[in-house]
């Protein structure tokens, strides 16, 4: 059969996605670190917020902090309940306060509901349950998610005991180095690299309810990249061994560009570091 095909397909119109995610072209919260990132309900953690703007790091001493006590409803598809965005009792103020999670957090946010007729919360992919901690600064709202040490449910007694013995609360990963050039020529492409020690990628037992077993699982680390100018090849990169790299292209105009790298581990741990470079010379 003789056939002929004609397809006139104009280039599909790709929408304008706005500013790239890495570009700090306005005041932004880039990370909130809690130390420790995981604890028992009612325990305290120290927080620090990374606030940045187009001119570099910003002072976060005016930040106000609050603990959210409302769980996410099934009718909501976000990461925190809408009540957490409303009026909350202020728990602390400043750039680096200490806050305690709710004593009943494993009931509200975890697998231990107030009654056996109630639905327990689902964990995340690492078996974690979290209570949101809100920070408001410079008109911005951000949340940290404090990981809760809650008991296993749906597990046999033997597995529960084994879990209690083997599970170690998460620790924040540590950025060992954040390297890049001190100065670059306009338009130059350079590599930025973040590295961390082996201990940052912790091994933890992950409960598999279907098979009633604990599987040793290594944390996955990835890096979010931010810059006040130029362009990043990728907004977020995964680990390549004990480091992760990204390619940054300098802007055509001279000036100082700030970089931030935020290292995430899969259980909610965070570390961040800052770097700056002079475009067009030192």
């Amino acid at each position: 059969m003789r056939r002929a095909l004609l397809l006139m397909l104009a280039a599909a119109c790709a929408p304008d996605f706005g500013s790239p995610e890495f570009l700090v072209d306005r005041s932004r919260v880039l990370a909130i670190q809690s130390v420790p990132p995981e604890g028992l309900p009612g325990s305290s953690a120290a927080y620090r917020v990374l606030l940045a703007g187009p001119t570099g790091p910003l002072d976060a001493s005016s930040a106000t902090w609050a603990l959210c006590t409302s769980p996410l409803s099934l009718t909501e598809t976000g990461t925190v309940a809408s009540e957490c965005l409303g009026e909350l009792a202020q728990a602390a103020q400043g750039a680096a306060p200490a806050l305690s999670t709710s004593a009943n957090a494993c009931g509200v946010f975890g697998p231990v509901p107030s009654s056996i007729t109630r639905r327990p919360r689902n964990p995340d992919a690492t078996g974690g349950f979290f209570q949101p901690v809100r920070v408001q600064v410079d008109g911005l709202t951000a949340f940290a998610q404090e990981r809760l040490q809650c008991p296993l449910t749906l597990a046999t007694l033997a597995v529960s005991v084994d879990f209690q013995q083997r599970y170690k609360a998460n620790q924040n990963p540590v950025i060992e180095s954040f390297t890049g050039p001190a100065s670059v020529a306009p338009g130059a492409q350079v590599q930025l690299t973040v590295s961390w020690p082996q201990s940052s990628a912790e091994i933890y037992p992950l409960f598999d309810p279907a098979h009633q077993q604990l599987n040793d699982t290594a944390e996955v680390l990835d890096v979010s990249w931010y810059a006040t100018g130029g362009s990043m090849a990728q907004d977020r990169t995964t680990a390549n061994g004990l480091s992760s790299s990204n390619t940054w292209t300098a802007p055509s105009a001279s000036g100082t560009v700030f970089f931030w790298a935020v290292l995430h581990d899969s259980r909610g741990g965070i570390d961040f570091a800052q770097l700056q470079t002079a475009v067009g010379g030192p």
Binding site: G78, N122, L140
Partner: protein, 676 residues
């Protein structure tokens, strides 16, 4: 709107001409003997409509009462009903979908389509298990033995129709080309937004004549769709989705005509479905797979019970065994009523379930057609028994055997249709009835849903009239009201009851007016103009405010016309449709753990996408090649005016910029069909 004027004028002008051309065929017609407001479209005419790509069943998407579907979904929103509330049938056999991914192509080749029948609501007692409407594709193998080869940028299709003794055998197969032909022309971003489908389908239809007036048909059709995509090249964190849908049906259809007013029809079938879909974004994921085996039996006996009274008695049964596995986020995929944004990654919560559902539905029905002179009264009664058995009533605990649940729901569903022939030109009709639909097996999970969900119910009411302006031109107006109750919605409790992630407290209301002007003559010009003005609302719980239905489309206008002469065809279609509601993002916050901005939504469904406007054109010509062979060439231009239609809103990563995802650019398709 201005674009509609020339078509209306053309239709009106040719109305007078066609009065002098007896025997003209209708391209779209009302069939009052079956259902009020039912629309029928002949397959031979449907495939010639502009925008149908030469596919008769695709033309169902432009039938009066059908909202303009969301691009790339192939979903049918009929009179404000959710797509899964409308039953899809091929020759009385229930099928999960009529379209391949994207809705560009149907699963039934046009040469098999005798007629499309859409009953948008208030249908008779012979149909049930649907809160919305019923769309049936009536098939019949071509009369003439022939082989066909067809190809266009979407796919290639081959079929053979042969005579075997006194019987006939049709076999066909289609395979998609669109991903290979169009794919290379698309940018990576475009492919992320509109994943190109990969599909195939096959059909086998055998006709075995028995005694005089008796016929047995063997039907087999199968379909497969698959697609995968990786999203967001700006991050090395993997993100994407995939889907797979495969299903097949094997059926027998027996019909015996006893006399002019009596016949017996039996349809028995078995089917197998595999549906799988998944999405992932870094560690967050959601996937679900279901395997379903189903069997159905329909039998009806129609006879003239007494002078002026014909009676139809029937039985309608369906049994389905479904095995489902699901893992990942509870709120992914989103369902109707969820507040989401385009491209939203799966939720971070994880759970899993593996469950089975048996559902049996058996109904006995009776329907009479009482001729009372100017009045025709059609009372009907459907006695329906719906049984559901689920494998686990609560999530399985350690060391405990799963405890299942069973429920039997009887339904008495009265139906009534009344037609009044006021004059030779004016008919007035009204109809109403009660309907139900069983819970979807996917909703009956102890972990993700609620195993004890019962059926949802609806009351349908329609009233209207048709007026034959001149012999070829009929205008019809139909008002409708559909009230739905016991809809499954997500529990809004801060801490839901165990195994009750869904509760049956949703209600819905859809109402509106449909106006259709039909060219009922045929001849060189045929066409219709339809307007659907409607509103569809849902209330997810008694304590929350009523919201717009996600597929609410207040205005949907379609004008389609075809002009045929000799072996040539010219056609045009103009569409205007209100944009679907969307929930705006009004602000955002930063989630440090996810390392991304999260949206803060405004009032649910409080804004709309811009209205959709498109002009589609088609032209075709057939060439006789001798010895009964012919070649048909068609050219279709979609969105000929290059209108920048919005298919959805899209936000940047900070949710500070909202843009639109544009639909199809001007698209020209050249297709060939060779008949040997």
């Amino acid at each position: 709107m201005k674009a509609l004027a020339p078509l209306l004028v053309a239709l009106a002008a040719s109305a007078a001409m066609a009065q002098e051309e007896p025997g003209l065929e209708a391209s779209i017609e009302a069939d009052r003997k079956k259902e009020p407001a039912q629309t029928s479209l002949r397959g031979s005419e449907a495939k010639d409509l502009a925008g149908a790509h030469g596919d008769a069943v695709v033309a169902a998407q432009m039938l009066p009462g059908v909202a303009r579907e969301p691009a790339g979904t192939g979903q049918l929103v009929v009179w404000g009903a959710a797509p899964n509330e409308t039953r899809l049938l091929i020759d009385g056999i229930e099928v999960p979908a009529l379209y391949h991914g994207g809705g560009l192509r149907s699963v039934v080749p046009s040469e098999l389509v005798r007629r499309l029948e859409l009953a948008p609501a208030a249908f008779g007692a012979q149909w049930g298990r649907a809160l919305g409407g019923v769309l049936e594709v009536e098939m019949s193998a071509p009369d003439v033995a022939a082989s066909r080869l067809a190809v266009d940028p979407l796919d290639a299709h081959a079929s053979i129709n042969a005579s075997l003794g006194d019987g006939q055998l049709f076999g066909g197969f289609r395979y998609s080309l669109v991903d290979r032909i169009v794919g290379p022309a698309l940018s990576e971003t475009a492919k992320e937004l509109f994943p190109l489908p990969r599909y195939w389908d096959g059909q086998l239809v055998g006709t075995i004549p028995l005694r005089s007036g008796e016929k047995l048909e063997l039907l087999f059709f199968g379909s497969s769709d698959s697609g995968t995509r990786e999203l967001n090249a700006t991050t090395s964190v993997s993100r994407g989705d995939s889907s797979l849908s495969r299903w097949g049906r094997l059926g027998l259809r027996y019909k015996r005509t006893l006399d002019e007013a009596s016949d017996v029809t039996v349809v028995a079938w078995a089917g197998d479905d595999l549906q799988s879909q998944g999405s992932f974004s870094g560690p967050a994921f959601a996937n679900q797979t279901s395997w379903a085996q189903s069997a159905g039996l329909r039998a009806s006996y129609r006879t003239l019970f007494a002078e002026g009274l014909s009676l139809t008695l029937g039985a309608d049964g369906l049994f389905t065994h479904t095995h489902l596995r699901r893992a990942g986020s509870l709120t992914t995929p989103a369902r109707e009523g969820d507040v989401t944004f385009f491209g939203q990654p799966p939720g971070v919560d994880v759970t899993s379930d593996d469950w089975t559902v048996q559902q049996g539905d058996f109904a006995l029905y009776a329907q009479g057609d009482l001729d009372l002179g100017r009045f025709t009264v059609t009372p009907g009664l459907r006695l329906d028994f719906a049984a559901t058995d689920t494998s686990a009533i609560v999530p399985t605990s350690v060391g405990s055997a799963p405890q299942g649940s069973s429920q039997l729901e009887p339904f008495v569903e009265p139906r009534l249709q009344i037609a009044f022939r006021a004059t030779d030109r004016l008919r007035i009709f009204a109809a109403g009835g009660l309907h139900h639909q069983a819970a979807a097996p996917a909703d009956l999970s102890a972990a993700f849903g609620a195993p004890t969900l019962g059926s949802s119910s609806a009351g349908h009411f329609t009233a209207g009239g048709s007026y034959r302006v001149a012999r070829p031109l009929t205008v019809e107006a139909t008002g409708f009201l559909r009230l739905e109750s016991d809809l499954a919605t997500r529990s809004d409790l801060p801490t839901p009851v165990l195994a009750q992630a869904f509760v049956q407290q949703g209600t819905g209301k859809s109402y509106g007016v449909q106006i259709v002007a039909r060219w009922q003559g045929g001849g060189p010009l045929s066409g219709f103009v339809s307007a659907l003005i409607s509103r569809s609302e849902r209330q997810d719980a008694p304590t929350v405010a009523t919201r717009l239905f996600d597929f609410d489309q207040p205005v949907a206008l379609t004008a389609a016309a075809s002009y045929k002469w000799d072996r040539n065809l010219l056609g045009a279609r103009v569409r205007y449709a209100s944009g679907f509601p969307r929930t705006p993002v009004i602000d955002s916050f930063f989630d440090s753990q996810q390392g991304r901005e999260e949206p803060i939504f405004g009032a649910q469904n409080s804004v709309r996408l811009p209205a959709f406007v498109a002009l589609d054109l088609t032209a075709a010509r057939s060439f006789e090649l001798g010895d009964g062979r012919s070649l048909r060439v068609y050219l279709e231009v979609e969105n000929a005016t290059a209108h920048e239609n919005a298919e959805d809103f899209i936000y940047d990563s900070s949710f500070t910029t909202r843009n639109i995802i544009q639909g199809l650019p001007p698209l020209a398709l050249l297709g060939l069909e060779l008949v040997l």
